[in-house]
Every structure is written in C-alpha cells, then in structure tokens.
Amino acid sequence: MKTLAIAANSLRRLFRDRANLFFIFVLPIVLILVLGLVFGTAFTSRVALIAPDNDDLALDIADRISSSTVFDTVEADDVETARAQLRRNDVDAVIVIPDGYRDSLLDGEAVEIAYYATPTGGGFDVRSVAEAAIAEQAAVIRAARFATVETDADAATALETARLVQGAIATVGTELEGEASSASGGQFDLGAAQQLLLFMFLTALTSSTALIQSRRLGVSHRMLSTPTSPGTIIGGETLGRFLVVMLQGVFIVLAAGLLFNVEWGDPVAAILVVTAFALTGTGAGMLLGSTFSNEQQAGGFAIFGALMLAALGGSMVPLEIFPDTMVTIAHFTPHAWGNDAFATLIRHGGGVADIGTELAVLTAYGVALVALSSSVFRRTLTR
C-alpha cells in the first residue's frame, strides 16, 4: 500500500504542473501529425516506370507491374527526371526497363532492369511486385527460347506460341499475408512509433528531476524516517515513474490510432513493447535521478540524452538508411530494438513470437537499469 501511495504521490505531483500535461500528452500527438504530414509515406506507394515505347516485351512487363494494386505508377520522361522525383520523395521507387530489352532477351542475353528505391519502406513492396512480374515473363521467354532452339521456329512465332501456352497452364501465384505487408503502412504509422519511443524515453529521463528535488529538499530522507523501508520507498518511486511513462505510451498508442488511424499491429505485442520500453526508460530515469544532485543539470542532460539516443536509435531517421556500422552501434540503444519491434509489427504484421528477441533485449535493459538505479538510490538514501 505504501508503494502505491508513493507512486500515486509522484503522479499527483507530475500532473499538477500543466506544462507537464502538454509535454506528455499534447506535444507527441502534434509531432506525430506534423511529421506524418511532412515526411510520412503515402498509403499507396508511387512508382515511376520507364520503358521503351517500341518494345512489346518491355511494354508487357510494364503492364504487368502497372496492374498491381499495391502501388500507383506515374510516367517519367527519363531516368534522371525519375531519380530526381525519387530524391524529392515524389515517388517511392523507380523501375527502368532498358532499350533493346526484347532483342536482348530473345538473343539469350542477360538484361538488367534497374530498380531504385528510398529506404523508407514504401519501395520494398514495389520491388517484390516487380520481381514477380519479371519472373512471370521470364518463364515465357525461356519457353520461347527453348522452342526456337528445338524446332528452328523463328523467335516471334516461338514467343507467340509460348504466350498462348502460358494461358493454358496453371500459374503459381503468391499471396501476401496480412494487410500490413501488402502495403508500406499508413502515413503516420512508423513516424508514430518513432515518436512514441522518443517521447516515452524523454519523459522517463526528465521526470528524474522530481526525484532530485525530493532528495535535495530532504523529503526522501523524511520518508525514510517514517516506518517505511528503503525498498518500499525505492519501489514506490520507481513504480510512479513507470506508471507515468506507461500512461504516456498507452495514450500515444490510443490517440494515434484514433486520430490518425495508425495501425500498431498485434495489440498484445505492441503493449508488450511499450511496457518493456517503459521499464527501460524508468530505469534510466531513476539512475539519472539518483546520480545527479541538481535539477537544472539533470534536466539538460535528460533532454540531450533522450534526443541523442533517439537519433542514434532510429527514432528521428529510419535505421534502414544507416550504414552497417551505425546500425550495429544503434543497437546499443533501446530505441533501435523498439523501432525494430514496431517495424516488424507494423510493416510485416508480426506477432509476439516475431519480436521475441527485441522484447527480451528491452526487458533485459529495463531490469538491469532498474536494479542499478535502485542500488544507487539506496546508497543516496542511507549515506
């Protein structure tokens, strides 16, 4: 009961300050909205497709790709223009079918279809569709080539025959499972996840200043002078901060879902990620609150640290554009594991089993940080 009383007291003090309400509940939602509008991936990806006009096989594959309902195709005059559109995020991918495509194929030469995409997620599904279309056409081409070699038929006749035969045989199709994997996600989805992690950690670290104030004013010592064990005090202070961060996390998840139709994927898995991440943030915040003795210094460090970890962990720019070394470094931050988990849930429709590693790492981070901060806080209480 005393643990709950201490935790409730932390919540009461936090929410008494209207500014805290703004930073915990309003600002994250505003940022999700703004970042989603400015940088968010469109719900339907756009693909610039360049194919030579006088090449039936090139036009055939262009038709196959364009027929996809996963994305929209747009015309582009040339490769440079299309790549410029890609850099401006006007399109999510560019597919270039080279001149002489038909002749090269029928002559048995290798043909390279160029594919350009941003790493923001939208272009990857386009690639899957393009590869499927190419594979489908390649089967016809191989049949025509076989007929040409075996029957001495000319290439055009063999190709026509192969097309006729293709319609008569069964096709093996692929079906994409789950809504999330059939598209790159909503305009706000991944941005919301990134902001969720950024703000949860920021709140966890900045709430450490209240703990420092309690220590500085002597209130923590006064609590110890009551018939309350150090463990109960530490437990109550930790629980209070955990509840604040959890409350914020759950609020952002619900508000982003209701206001921006953000799909968080498997709700149980999403809440587990939020919980494990909140535990990690709580431990880090308690450690900060136990080691610093000045609220201003701690507040500055908290903001700097939270933003640095968020940037490093892919909560400002996606991990996909990081070089390999930076990706490795990023995974020293809990944010990277949280972002990985949400990417799996949101993009690929994963469940708890698919994010087991991420959950285990986040939980390990949380338990280690809470244990360390408890030890340090106990020393500050009783020295």
Binding site: N9, R222, T226, T228, R383
Partner: protein, 312 residues
Amino acid sequence: MADVVLECSGLRKEYGDLVAVDGVGFSIEAGETYGLLGPNGAGKTTTISIIAGLLDSDGGAAVVSGNEITTKSTAAKAAIGLVPQDIAIYPDLTARENLRFFGKLYDIGGSLNERVDEILDVIELSDRADDQTKEYSGGMKRRLNIGLGLLHKPDLLILDEPTVGVDPQSRNAILENVERLGAEGMAVLYTTHYMEEAERLCDRVGIIDEGVIVAEGTRRELVTLVGERDRLHLEVSGDASTVADAVSAIPDVESCSSAGSELEVVAVSASRALPDVVLSVNDAGLDVLTVQVSEPDLESVFLHLTGKALRE
C-alpha cells in the same frame, strides 16, 4: 522514574578517516526535553540521523521505545517524529496533501483525515490548508515541517534546529509548541546553536564537540561543573560597605565586595540568595534601589568546555 524513551550508547560513525560521531551516548525520558548543543560540524546532525534511522551507525546502538533503530527498523521509526533542519515538504502539494501523504507512510489509517485537521489546527494552517506550500511564508513552511513530525503522535520528537531562519513571532510559536509537547509527556530531542532556546526549553543538555559529548546535565549542573557562578549587582541607598560582611555570611553567597553604594555578590544560586541579600541590606537601614542578576549561561559553559564559541 519516568520511562526511558531513547537510550543510545557508544554511537560511532566514520566517513573514511573522519570520525563524525565517536562514542555518543545519552538517554531521554518521557516528558523530558534534551538539548544537543554544538557548533556546525560538531556531529549533531549525524547523531540525529542515526537516531532517526536515516543512517546506520558503525558502532553502538540506539533504542527507541524498546526497539533498536536501524535504517530498516520500521517498529522503532513508528515511535519517532523527525523535524529535519531542511524544510522537507513538497512545494507543489498543499499542506493537507503533504500531511495526508506522510500520514499514510506513518500508517495512521482510518483516522487520517481527523488527525490531519488536528495538526492543521495546532500549526495554525487550517485556513491555508489547501494552498500549495510554495506559496507559504518561511514561517508557515517551518510550522508545517514541525506538524509533519507530530502527525502520528510519536514517543520521541526530534527537532533539528527548527527555528533557523524563522521570524520572531513564528519562532516563539514553535518554542511554545515544544514546551507544550514536553509537558504533555513527549520526549523531545532538540538541537540548536541558539543558547537561549536551549536554556528555555531543555531539561538537560548534552554538549557535543568534534563528535564527542564533552559534558551533560542540567544547566545548573553544567554551570557548576565548570565553576561558573551567579552574580548579583545591587545599588543601595547608602554606603554599601556597611552590609558587605553580613551579605558574605549568607550561606549561598561565596563572596561580596562593595564600591560606594554598589554591592557585587557572587552566589551559588542567585535566586536563592537574593531574598537574604535584600533582608541584610534592609537590616542595615538601607534600601535596595536596583538589582541586576546575571547567571552564567550555556554559552560561557560551552566556551569553557570547548574553547570555542557556539556559533563558530
């Protein structure tokens, strides 16, 4: 003999090579106010921190109401009310919320609201009970600081320099409250470096210096211990030398000297000697025009014992 509420012996606390408290021991009975006097850094706050269960000692023991106190001993802590030197209250909570929160930590239970109202009355904050304490004056905060220590009706109230930075009116109110609590049977451990507070409040005083209690007793015992005496200075309506011998013969008087119409009397107890001195003057056909009584204070005792002033 009244019940002993606090019994501590051989308390020791070290910080590396520094021995902050070295073998401190004293006891306090119910209804007794015990003053722990010493300059800054003498070891008062460390001693109090051990007795309040905020610090574990490196040696010795403190027993409060029959329970040995450590940082983990909740039973002993339930018998202690601590009023720390710092104003240890939440500035963003109201007085009522502060009291309610600590009341829960003291396990007050169902009567918490009534007890909070009682304390608010005692500390005269009922009309500001629902204002955030950051809007309070220094004196109001001090009163709340004390109220939090009284909330659970402790056997032992520890007040660590409770009047530092307080205006005279609030200071007097605090001292009156402490006197009342002592009269009601509460044991009080009071630290201060204001000598007049110790002289007014404390039944017994322990003088601590460099972590050691160098002397202990009532003010009178301490004064006697260091050989200090009361002094009476009288102005009479004639030649004072005519009564000097008679005054010197009074049992409580150690010596008497005269100069013109003035008498200087050194006595073991000025209050006991004064009536006899006045009678002697009257018997000699003189009138007493003025009387000045100066009793040796704890400041001079402290100076005598430690060689330093209390406020150093």
